[in-house]
């Protein structure tokens, strides 16, 4: 408790606060992924989840290993992978829209077989 007070009254924001922010963002993404029927909305929820993971990479790097930059590079590569994933997913969504007339996820039952 003592260290917690020292860290809380000092200048630095505690690690825990960053973790709680990314936790809320992550579970908002999970909720959106489970409740949405629309493919674009599900993609937005996935972006939230990936972004929450990025925050954790950067925060752990900055607070626990401030001399290194591995967490920062992991966050950079995650951003690049998220860009790739979004581009391919949007191509698929446009294809689904072209074939079915809307972009709802329950269309995908009749894709094949």
């Amino acid at each position: 408790m003592g260290e917690f007070l020292i860290n809380n009254t000092g200048d630095a924001v505690p690690v825990m606060a960053y973790q709680l922010v990314s936790l809320i963002m992550f579970f908002a993404g999970i909720y959106g992924f489970f409740t949405r029927k629309n493919l674009m909305m599900m993609l937005i929820a996935v972006e939230l989840i990936l972004n929450a993971a990025d925050i954790n990479f950067a925060v752990f790097n900055r607070y626990l290993y401030p001399g290194q930059m591995d967490g920062m590079f992991f966050a950079l590569f995650t951003i690049a992978i998220a860009a790739c994933e979004t581009a391919v997913a949007i191509a698929i969504i446009i294809n689904v829209y072209r074939n079915f007339g809307n972009a709802d996820v329950d269309n995908l039952k009749k894709m094949k077989g």
Binding site: I24, D54, P66, M69, I90, I94
Partner: protein, 179 residues
């Protein structure tokens, strides 16, 4: 103290806008709330002292991906119509599941979180350090990942074009075989 005030403002923005982004009925609004979340995240990176990550987050996420999102939304949706969601019990059970997850992980973070650390003041990394880490091939440097990423981007471009383009000849062929 200023740092803490800025952090709590950004945290409030992230919380409110990420919840609004997954509960809004209009898809364009949802995308706009996502944009605010991404910008606030970029603010967190700036607060941590990662200026390069801040620039990448703004230019790739808030610039590139959001433009792609909004173009795709206008290609696939009529503006102003609200999207369908799943049935009532699905929404209730997923809200319950997410709340349970927040409570469980929040409890773990608060009871077992990292309390003993020495916050070291330091300046941001220089561009030279970042460049030599990204393009060096020694221990702790990331040339291989960087090149893998370029191949991944190439594969992604080819795949996206292949999936999304209109194939006139094959459409014609399938029409003929259907007839």
């Amino acid at each position: 103290m200023t740092e803490q005030i800025i952090f709590y403002l950004l945290a409030l923005a992230i919380t409110v806008f990420s919840i609004l982004a997954v509960t809004s009925k209009l898809i364009v609004r949802s995308a706009t709330y996502l944009l605010f979340v991404l910008l606030a995240t970029a603010g967190l990176y700036m607060l941590l002292g990662y200026h390069f990550l801040f620039a990448v987050q703004i230019s790739v996420y808030a610039g590139g991906i959001m433009v792609l999102f909004i173009m795709a939304i206008f290609l696939t949706h009529k503006p102003g119509t609200s999207v369908r969601t799943k049935r009532g019990w699905r929404i209730k059970s997923s809200a319950l599941l997410s709340l349970a997850g927040i409570v469980l992980c929040g409890y773990i973070i608060i009871t077992n979180g990292i309390r003993t650390y020495q916050f070291m003041e330091r300046d941001g990394f220089t561009m030279q350090e970042i460049g030599s880490t990204m393009l060096g091939s020694q221990k702790g440097q990331y040339l291989l990942s960087f090149e893998m990423m370029s191949i991944l981007l190439l594969a992604c471009i080819v795949g996206a074009i292949l999936i999304a383009r209109k194939t006139k000849t094959t459409d014609h062929d399938t029409n003929e075989t259907d007839q």
